[in-house]
Symmetry: C2
């Protein structure tokens, strides 16, 4: 298994994004990522399957956190309030990560294969959230619609949060987006 | 340019889906699709870039119809009501297409590359709807959130409409899904 490298996973992700942003995604090799992180290629492949996956290393943890917060919201909470609890929980992950998030978004947006992967991850998140809501006794189509609404708020809120002039926290922007969704569906 | 073949586009799409459902997507060739449709390979390639594209031939027309209905809704209509007009307009496209839609959905769901393509089309639809709403004077984030909500209702409604026991029309199921989304976001 090799020796333990402190924060190898995070160092590799940071190095990869730095190279993707500066030289371009296609032009960067796994060897270069490992070198910049001060690690070996072998260590890279212990953590990530390939250079695409290094951009999505956080997504399963994010999904787990989101889904758990929805599942563990108070039993009496309405579906949309359980979803709000999930959105609040994931917002915490983004504290101090605005610049990283901006760079990552720019790289993903510039490559069709990365965008497809991102969309697949969001679809998987939506399915997992619907499942968590059904586990709370929410019936269909309410469970799937609430899950889709939650992912929409997350997506639109995230894109606002990384905008150039934005200074509010992710939690604030997400809360505003959820309130806005409630207002538009109420016909406001 | 070749001679004019009546309904070539639709005949090719029908033949392709029949073969994909019976023999599998990977196992089917363009030559076989053309033969079953009583057309030549050359005619196939005049209409579709490849055997993947034949499953998505309707998506640009559907997007145009949806977006136009949103854009042309009465000026006084609230964003969500303009979206409802768009959803109503696209529902018409699905009249008499339930069996075709079921088969197509099954083929797409079974292949990651087709699912990715479907998700890209839905993301493009959402962006176009947000654009149409901004054209109506709707500000952000309301425009993007209403667009995402519309696509969510379309997606969840469509999946219900193709369910085995479902007999209501697409328009009815979509209307119910929109009402349900309004109820869940209102905390019901």
């Amino acid at each position: 298994m090799g020796r333990w490298e402190p924060n190898a996973r995070e160092r590799l992700a940071k190095a990869a994004l730095e190279l993707y942003s500066e030289r371009g995604y296609e032009q960067t090799t796994v060897a270069e990522i490992a070198r910049l992180a001060g690690l070996t290629e072998r260590t890279f492949f212990r953590h990530y399957a390939d250079k695409r996956e290094v951009l999505f290393g956080g997504s399963s943890g994010l999904q787990e956190l989101f889904v758990n917060a929805v599942a563990l919201a108070p039993g009496a909470a309405a579906p949309i309030d359980a979803m709000a609890a999930g959105l609040e929980a994931v917002s915490e992950v983004f504290v101090d990560r605005r610049e990283y998030s901006r760079q990552r978004y720019a790289v993903v947006a510039a490559h069709a294969e990365l965008q497809e992967r991102e969309l697949i991850k969001l679809a998987s998140l939506s399915a997992a959230l619907a499942d968590a809501l059904r586990g709370r006794g929410v019936t269909e189509p309410a469970a799937s619609l609430t899950a889709e609404a939650g992912v929409a708020v997350f997506k639109v809120g995230f894109e606002r949060w990384i905008a150039a002039a934005e200074e509010r926290t992710m939690a604030q922007v997400i809360r505003e987006s959820l309130d806005e969704l409630k207002a538009v569906t109420a016909g406001g």
